[in-house]
């Protein structure tokens, strides 16, 4: 994918902050996420807890917007840790950083770190994403 506003990964060095943005989850956001994933469980929604994967998904969208990946880029692996609940109406700050850039055979591999903090600066989500680039 190419986006004229996105940075090319070749110009990034480890430590580069790819995106940092604040989000607040509304009841509609949670409803939309549950509809998209056809999650009919009774844990989310009425009790005000945001599904953890809805939290984890947001930085991925920001990464997709912020880096110009070539066609054929593949999301190969994902580590994630849900450290605490996020409640509807709570603001979180999602920050993604380039951790590592290396070669794997003829391909380039990027490892990205993702951290989501709540209003008290507590980490509520941590993730590590690896993307293989042709």
């Amino acid at each position: 994918m190419s986006d004229i506003n996105a940075a090319h990964y070749a110009s990034m060095e480890p430590g580069y902050v790819i995106s940092s943005a604040r989000y607040t989850f509304s009841p509609k956001d949670v409803e939309a996420y549950l509809a998209a994933t056809e999650d009919v469980g009774d844990l989310f929604g009425e009790n005000g807890i945001v599904p953890p994967m809805a939290v984890a998904a947001l930085p991925m969208g920001a990464i997709s917007d912020s880096i110009s990946f070539p066609d054929g880029a593949v999301h190969v692996s994902q580590q994630m840790e849900f450290c605490d609940e996020v409640m509807v109406g709570e603001s979180v700050v999602c920050t993604s950083t380039l951790l590592k850039k290396h070669k794997r055979g003829p391909f380039n591999m990027l490892t990205l770190g993702i951290e989501v903090k709540n209003e008290t600066e507590t980490v509520v989500y941590y993730g590590k994403t690896s993307v293989l680039l042709p």
Partner: protein
């Protein structure tokens, strides 16, 4: 189900988690793109996706992981939501028309003081039995 939302009661090695079956449809991929604000055209633009190595639209990898997380939430409730860990590899893309089956099995239970950590193997396969997602999940159980 207890107050934590945990439905699984038989906690021992070898126990299989209740599986989850999901149909992948383009409409849900589009909805997920909206919900996750991830509009990469490989997921939502058929004409664009046809010209890429994928040969057509594919679901967001995170959508497949959402199904894995849903299975873990169904089994472990709030313990998963505020204490779950996932370490997976994407082995194949999920495409519109696929039926995904997510399954998991308890492979180890570590006990440390008053806390148990349940370790599971998790997989997501399509209707052809091709592995889409493969990995491990861990969840700490509070008060067990």
């Amino acid at each position: 189900m207890d107050k934590s939302g945990r439905k699984i009661t038989d906690l021992r090695e070898g126990v299989e988690l209740p599986p989850l079956v999901k149909s992948v449809v383009q409409e849900n991929i589009n909805r997920y793109a909206e919900a996750a604000r991830d509009f990469n055209p490989i997921h939502i633009d058929e004409e664009f996706a046809k010209k890429t190595p994928a040969g057509g639209t594919i679901a967001h990898g995170m959508l497949a992981l959402a199904y894995v997380s849903q299975m873990m939430t169904d089994a472990f409730g709030l313990d998963w939501v505020a204490g779950g860990k996932l370490d997976i590899r994407f082995k194949a893309p999920a495409r519109p028309g696929d039926t995904l089956t997510v399954s998991g099995q308890i492979v180890r239970i570590d006990s440390n003081d008053d806390r148990k950590t349940v370790c599971c193997d998790v997989t997501c396969v399509n209707q052809k039995d091709e592995v889409v997602v493969l990995g491990k999940a861990e969840v700490g159980l509070i008060g067990d």
